[in-house]
Structure formats: C-alpha cells, structure tokens
C-alpha cells in the first residue's frame, strides 16, 4: 500500500446525477486531476477540502474513493450539509486539498463475494468492482431510497449483476432485509465473503445476520472526522474482545486509521 500524501488538486468537472424531475439534484460526481499516489485499495477513503471552505469550515470531509483511472480521481457525493453544499458549487479549475489514501480497504478474495450497498454506501464498491480481477465472483444487492439514476450504478452494470431494491413504500424494507439474509446465508454456505457499506441501521442488520449465520463479513463505517489521520480521536467506535490488537480490545478505536473497514465481529455498533 502506498504512503498517503496531501496535495492540492484541480477540479476537472462536476457531473450532476439523477436530474430528472426538474428539481436540483443532490448527487454529484466530482472529477479531480489524478493525485501523486497511485496504489490504493477499494474501501480506502480520502479527505477532501476545497479551498472555498476558507477558514469558516475548518474540516475536510471524508469520502470513500469511488474510482481512480490514469486520468482522474472521482469523489461521488450527496449534498447533506454545509460542506457538501459548498462542494456542489465547485467549478472546473477550482482547487481542492485532498489527502489519502487513508484507512484499510476491503478484503479481496477469489471466492463468491456479496456486496451489500445501502444508498451512498455503493460508492466504495464502484472501485471494488473495477479493481477486482474476478468480477464473475461478485454480486451486489443495492438498497436505495432515491431513483436509481442518482447513483453511479451504470459504470459497474457491465461487470456484475446489480439487484437493486428501491425503498418507497411500507414493506419494501422488510423485503430488502429478507433477501439480504437469504443472500448472506447462500454466500456463507460457499465459504464466501460479505462486504457491506451503508447507513448505521443497515450495517447493524448486516452485522446481526453475520454473527448469527457465521458468515465472514466486513463492514465499512462512516463517521464525522476532523483529521482523517488518527489524531483528533473524534471518529472512534468501540471494539470487541475479538479485536486483533490485544491492547485495543474493548476500547475506542479510530474509524479513520483502524477502519473504515472492520470485520463484523470486531466492533460494536451499539
């Protein structure tokens, strides 16, 4: 894995997603010039801080690395607060401080692998699908609330089968949870791997099934972060007695440096 680096990158463009009903979209792909780091693992993240944050927004914002090619780095985001609102106003040529790649990526195995994505949790899986050399071993279950065209699904449709379930009515969530459990059990029987990224309640459900069905499962967490490098101790989650580092068992561990990807039995989400 390459050493992380901090660099000032130029915005190539900002592409809105899912602009269909005349309303302003909240989903964007921010294309940045390629940073100096080349080696990265899907599931790792980066801190992004446009110079337009000035002094009034002190923190960078953490984003899972969506995709990187020889030409560019893609940061896919949804507008949820002050920071992403200001990011939605970025234009070609603007400057953005980016530090990464940060944290630990997902496991990559030559085994059946089920990708469980909830909403924006799909982002790190875009890179995962592109970087995996056995895409035929990958399947994805994607639960989402906004229309499908809000998410960057098209770029992976050619490589894997994405089963998407939109939550729009009562009962949809139950359906998602039902198929989630069935799929996890299937993969477990094949000694496969489950990877999940999404909102906390979604991850809690996946974790519960993982422990119950004894399926090898990794969860990617998100949290508010000030630094992304392990210093501010703001993004901690509680580890369990199964945590591999003895001194850090049953202890608050930084999501940024010890995660964001954790094995399901090694952290508590309560």
């Amino acid at each position: 894995m390459s050493q992380p680096a901090s660099s000032l990158l130029t915005v190539l463009d900002l592409v809105p997603f899912g602009q269909s009903n005349g309303l302003d979209t909240q989903f964007f792909a921010l294309r940045l010039e390629r940073p100096s780091w080349t080696a990265w693992k899907p599931g790792q993240f980066m801190m992004v801080r446009p110079t337009s944050f000035g002094l009034d927004l002190p923190w960078g914002r953490p984003f899972g690395i969506c995709h990187m090619t020889a030409q560019h780095l893609i940061c896919f985001f949804q507008v949820v607060g002050r920071g992403t609102q200001r990011m939605a106003a970025l234009k070609s040529g603007d400057k953005v401080q980016v530090w990464g790649p940060l944290g630990n990526g997902f496991a990559m195995e030559d085994k059946p692998t089920l990708l469980l994505a909830g909403g924006m949790g799909i982002v790190p899986f875009i890179g995962y699908v592109h970087e995996h050399h056995q895409p035929w071993n990958l399947t994805m279950l994607f639960g989402h609330r906004q229309p499908l065209n809000c998410y960057p699904v098209d770029s992976i449709n050619e490589r894997i089968t994405v089963d998407s379930l939109r939550e729009s009515a009562v009962g949809d969530l139950d359906n998602l949870i039902f198929s989630l459990r069935e799929r996890m059990a299937d993969v477990g029987e094949q000694n496969g791997l489950v990877l999940a990224c999404g909102p906390l309640p979604f991850l809690k459900t996946v974790q519960q099934f993982a422990l119950e069905l004894k399926v090898r499962t990794q969860l990617s967490l998100e949290n508010k972060m000030a630094c992304g490098v392990g210093a501010c101790l703001g993004c901690v989650c509680q580890s369990t007695e199964n945590y591999p580092v003895a001194a850090k068992r049953n202890w608050p561990v930084q999501v940024c440096t010890h995660g964001p990807v954790f094995w399901a039995d090694q952290i508590s989400l309560d």
């Binding site: 901090s6 927004l57 002190p58 960078g60 630094c227 501010c232 101790l233 901690v236 989650c237």
Partner: protein, 306 residues
Amino acid sequence: MDLSVTLAGERPLHLKNPVITASGTFGYGVEFAPYGDLTSLGAIVVKGLSLKPRSGNPTPRIAETTSGMLNAVGLQNDGVENFVRHTLPRLPWQELPVIANIYATEPQDFAELGAILAAEEGIAALEVNISCPNVKQGGILFGQDPRLAAAVTKAVRKAAPNKHLMVKLSPNVTDIAAIARAVADAGADSLACINTLSGMAVDVRSRRPRLANVIGGLSGPAIKPVALRCVWQVCNAVSIPVVGLGGIASAEDALEFILVGASAVQVGTANFFRPDFAFDLVRELPKACEKLGVHSLEELRGSLRV
C-alpha cells in the same frame, strides 16, 4: 533566515524554529510523518498523557462550528507507560524536542507522571495541562485557582527537576495574569497560552447538544482574538517565556502572537485543515517576515506599538 528560538531560563529549551504542534491535534507525531519531515518542526507536544490508560468520553466527541470546532474527547490515551515503552522510541527525539503533555486529577498523580517522564532521555520538556478538575476538591479546575495552579506546578517541578516545565493556561478565568504569576512563581520555566475556550453547540432539529458531553473546548480561528489578548496580558505579567496558541491558521497569524510578546507558537486545529499545515508554516514564516521587511523574529518579538 535563522528562525531558531530559545525558551530561556534555568532549563532552556532550544527550538530550531518557533513552530510547535499543539497537544491533541498532532497525535503522537507519527501519524503526520507521511506528510512532512517531523524534524523540520520546532517541537511537538504529544497527545495528553495520564497515569493509567483512559478510554475518554462517549461520542459524538467533536463538532464543527463556524471557523472552529468543539471537542470533548475526554483525554483518551494509552497511558504514560505505553507511551514511554512503545511510542517514544518511534519518534525522532534526538533531532526534535518532544514535549509530553500531562494530565491528572490530583497533584500527587501529576508528580508521579513528572517522575516517570523525568527519567526519559527522549522527553525534552513537560507541558502541564491544568485545565482539568481537581477530584479531591470538588472538581474545581486547577487552572481556575492561582493556589491550585501553583500547587500542581510545584509538584511537577519537584518530581522532574531536570526537565523544562511549561504550564498550559486556561482562558476560562477572570484574571489570566494572576494565574500566570502564580504559576511562574511556583517554578514554571515557560507558559503555553491558551487552552480551549469552554463552549457548546446545539442541533436544533434533534434538540440535542452536538457533543455527548454537552460542553466542550472551542478551538480554531474563531478564538484567535481571545488568545492574542491573553498572550498580551500574560507577557506583561511575567518574565518567563510565553508560547502563544489559539487559532493560528497562517504565518501572519503566528507573527501576530510574536508581536504581542510570544517567544514561540503552537499550531493546533489548523493541523486538521490539512495534515501538512505545520510543515508549510515553517517554510512560510521567513517569507512572511521578508514581506514585512524584518530579518529576524527578534525584531518583531514584543514590538507591538500601543
């Protein structure tokens, strides 16, 4: 340009430049090694150490505010023994003064921490965090009472007679000059000024505080005017060197602290703006001086025209 600074006194602390990273914002230093040469810094102050490991406060522990941030981390740390055994050997202490920030809730524990660190060759100085409650005396903060602040200073002074002793003052007091004088008289070699300002943030939708601890410490550019005022008052009250901190986000900001009398500065929250901030500040300082037409920091230090 020669940027070197000596925090002069009985136990002088020599710095190759006045840029020190503030406690709690730079981890144990090793976290920032990928982003710059640690040995190019003036010194680093490591994350606060307590006698026993502390798991800290529940989350959320941090909140972004306009031009600043609140934290109530609760001094999560691995304890002084783990630091000395596992982390200190990984730091380039032969080429960079490593300052240990210490935290306790009783003067006796402060003394014990001082004694443990006094035996460590790799520790150049101790920074005493007196912005913490005195458990034995109903939780009043050491840093808010001149007698308690002096008692802690004396306890550490006695336990670590060989180490430069810096005491970090709290701005949450009525008369910071009185605390500064008490601490200086009790044997401090220098003062760091200021710690965070007590503050709160509220989420109007959930009607909940944005920190689990409700109250936290405010840092960042928002507090710079308060910090400058405190450093100015303290510099006028004592003759020992003062290290200024609070919201420094540029080389010019650092020079403002030097102008009001600080010998050196610490950078804290700006290390979160980007992880290479402190390294850049070292490079930017000479340029900022040149712009002002000054050839040394000495020309600026304490030269505020009032």
